[in-house]
């Protein structure tokens, strides 16, 4: 006989069966029934300090672990507070399931206390969302939500739960299957298209692989590395793709685009074949679109058909899961590549790239007196041997991390690429540390961004999460200041903070540890002390106030026209 359960119990029971281990959340009246049942289930709950923090933490958890992140918040303000987090996850294709409480069914539409049409509000920034109408559908809906969030091009799914349904009861059956008439992502790439692409790869003289976040979300790093090494193809990655290809490899070009390396942007501009893998030709990557990869045939592998030929017309589109498609491709190339020595074939091309690298390497000058922010990032990279999980905020701190941290493994870089959400890094680091309690997790921050979700430091302290925050404290909203310096006659309108907290004292006030470095020679000892401290730490690095991020391609310019300083 089927079990009769309350709505709240059905929800939690189904979560457990779906493999959920952690919920990031914040209670309130509309979800009090769920919270009441929560202690009876084998689910860890992380009580954040702001619902935006819950979503970013679930997002960081998902990016680091590859699992679906789960959030639970109340109706009205609880729900609206999640919107930025949801939009952040949506833009970066991160699998989340968000449960929002809703006023009782009877009151919906009445402007009831703490009512918000969260389904309407989040419709354009979720992969899918809906309001639960019928308790009988709850279990099936939850299963579908996980399925939709985690398959195809992943993304956030929101379910709005009226309070009366959580309190009502019905028979419970865990659904075995998901069947959605309108949802059936293409997983396997079209064999004919893959053959054509393989033939182009065998023919090309100056090929480049351009890997994006899709390589990471489909766990295809090994395949990317195999393809690159087997055919000696240099690899550049987007911001979202960092970690998908080891930067220690000689074939690594680093990141491309607005703040990409000189060699990556030059290689893309001069290549005769560009193989885009799980990347979407974002404007921060392409610069002036008609001059992007002007000499190249373009192959584009992506699970999402809407990504293909959206911004750039491609010659060989392949819709499919990146990992499976690359495996198919590797198999074909394996058969057809013959006995040629491909590293010999590519010698000239690789040499040319090496020349570009020598001419304009990523560089900065660390003087005696003032700390350069790049120096801090490089030291963190060395001292953690590229093994740490690195989150960032948004702005210069994010770009310096992308440039100077040597990423060698996938799922070690958590950053808001698409939406560019300041305040993402700290809660994301919390989520990652929950997923991996024993790894080093560091948020590289700016003094502006860190204040956007600083309240989550209390969460880190409560759960003994030894995350480290490296504030590159330049006293400015640095990235905006840099644009004002370069393109707005140095009119620093509203980008300097005239009041700032003492980050060391702030850390202490929260019960965390505060450290400060003001001179270059203090940088390494501060990082070492922080790494040796098994508690949350803020490291306040007082850095050169007006340092810039270079190279830089001005917005709308072709990517080979870089400002190099």
């Amino acid at each position: 006989m089927a079990l009769r359960l309350k709505g709240a119990q059905i929800l939690l029971e189904t979560l457990v069966r779906e493999g959920t281990e952690v919920i990031f959340g914040y209670p309130g009246g509309a979800v009090i029934d769920i919270y009441h049942e929560l202690p009876n289930y084998d689910l860890k709950h992380v009580l954040v300090r702001h619902e935006q923090g819950a979503v970013h933490a679930a997002d960081g958890y998902a990016r680091a672990s590859g699992k679906v992140g789960v959030c639970l918040v109340t109706s009205g303000p609880g729900a609206t507070n999640t919107v930025t987090g949801i939009a952040t996850a949506y833009m970066d294709s991160i699998p989340l399931v968000i449960f929002t409480g809703q006023v009782p069914s009877m009151l919906i539409g009445n402007d009831a206390f703490q009512e918000a049409d969260i389904v309407g509000i989040t419709r354009p920034c979720t992969k899918h969302n809906f309001l639960l109408n019928d308790l009988e559908e709850l279990a099936q809906s939850v299963k579908e939500a996980f399925y939709i969030a985690g398959t195809g091009r992943p993304g956030p799914v929101l379910i709005d739960l009226p309070k009366d349904l959580m309190n009502g009861s019905c028979e419970y059956r865990y659904p075995r299957v998901v069947q959605l008439r309108g949802y059936n992502p293409t997983i396997k790439g079209h064999q004919g298209q893959i053959k054509r692409a393989a033939a182009e790869i065998l023919k090309a003289e100056r090929p480049v692989l351009y890997g994006g976040g899709g390589v990471i979300s489909s766990n295809a790093s090994n395949e990317l590395v195999s393809l690159a090494r087997m055919m000696t193809i240099p690899v550049t990655t987007t911001l979202m793709g960092l970690g998908s290809f080891p930067e220690s490899d000689e074939l690594s070009l680093g990141m491309l685009g607005m703040h990409g390396t000189y060699r990556a942007n030059m290689a893309v501009t001069n290549c005769d074949l560009l193989i885009a893998v799980g990347a979407r030709f974002d404007d921060r990557v392409t610069g002036k679109i008609d001059e992007f990869a002007p000499l190249a045939k373009i192959v584009h592998i992506d699970i999402d058909p809407t990504s293909i030929s959206k911004n750039v017309q491609v010659d060989i589109p392949i819709v499919g899961d990146v990992k499976i498609t690359l495996q198919q491709m590797i198999e074909i190339i394996e058969e057809e590549k013959g006995k040629k020595d491909w590293s010999e074939e590519r010698r000239e091309w690789i040499q040319q790239i090496e020349e570009w690298k020598q001419t304009y390497p990523l560089a900065y000058v660390q003087k005696k007196d003032v700390i350069k922010p790049q120096f801090v990032v490089e030291r963190i990279s060395e001292l953690t041997k590229g093994e740490a999980i690195i989150a960032t905020e948004v702005g210069q701190n994010q770009m310096w991390t992308a440039q100077y941290f040597k990423f060698i493994k996938p799922r070690t870089f958590l950053t808001s690429g698409g939406l560019g959400t300041m305040g993402y890094g700290l809660p994301a680091a919390i989520g990652a540390q929950i997923a991996f309690p024993d790894r080093v997790v560091i948020d590289v921050a700016g003094d502006g961004s860190i204040q956007m979700n600083i309240q989550e430091l209390a969460t880190a302290v409560q759960y003994n999460l030894p995350i480290k925050i490296a504030v590159l404290n330049n006293g400015f909203l640095g990235m905006v200041r840099q644009w004002q310096e370069l393109f707005y006659q140095k009119r620093y309108s509203c980008t300097m903070f005239e009041s700032a907290p003492d980050f060391v004292k702030l850390a202490e006030a929260y019960g965390a540890v505060g450290l400060r470095a003001t001179k270059p020679e203090e940088v390494v000892p501060v990082i070492e002390t922080a790494l040796a401290t098994p508690r949350p730490v803020i490291m306040d690095f007082v850095v050169e106030p007006e340092e810039g991020v270079y190279p830089m391609v001005p917005a709308g310019a072709p990517i080979n026209k870089m400002l190099l300083v």
């Binding site: 809906f130 939709i148 309108g182 030929s309």
Partner: protein
């Protein structure tokens, strides 16, 4: 170029606003949109008339397909489908134009569905050209109001949508 899209969707709350929101959010335009249930009450059929070059239409079709509740999208090319719409036209009638009006309605195989001392409501079914033509003809008599349903469309021949 003008395109008529036939879209099968799951008959669930919010589907219309999802589709409409997709068009507005991505800067696509909708010239007309009709929705109604199909024989299967779980499924609705939308006919959307939109405009754009090939690349835009490709995006619209793909984006529609990406919506979880969308089951199928067909872009009808000219010629391979039938489309119809209904217009209700309220026209002034006077003694000196009544018979002319009635004969126009007759020629167009329309119907008078409401009569008052000063006006008729004409119901006319047809493709776009036919409706445009009758509107043109009766305009000089004085049109008080026109309401149109927007197009519905169906594939010709044995194939279903």
């Amino acid at each position: 170029m003008r395109h008529t899209l036939s879209v099968l969707v799951e008959n669930k709350p919010g589907v219309l606003s999802r589709v409409a929101g997709l068009f507005s959010g991505r800067g696509f335009n909708i010239e007309s949109l009709t929705v109604a249930e199909t024989l299967d009450p779980m499924v609705s059929h939308m006919t959307i008339v939109t405009r754009g070059n090939d690349q835009i239409l490709e995006q619209i079709t793909k984006q529609l397909n990406k919506l979880i509740n969308v089951i199928k999208v067909v872009d009808f090319m000219d010629g391979d489908h039938v489309d119809r719409e209904i217009a209700l036209i309220k026209v002034n009638v006077k003694d000196d134009n009544r018979s002319e009006l009635l004969s126009i309605i007759d020629i167009f195989r329309g119907k008078v569905v409401d009569v008052s001392s000063q006006s008729y409501i004409i119901e006319i079914t047809g493709d776009e050209d036919k409706i445009a033509a009758i509107i043109d003809l009766v305009k000089p008599m004085g049109i008080k109001d026109v309401v149109r349903t927007g197009k519905v469309a169906m594939m010709r021949g044995g194939k279903s949508k």
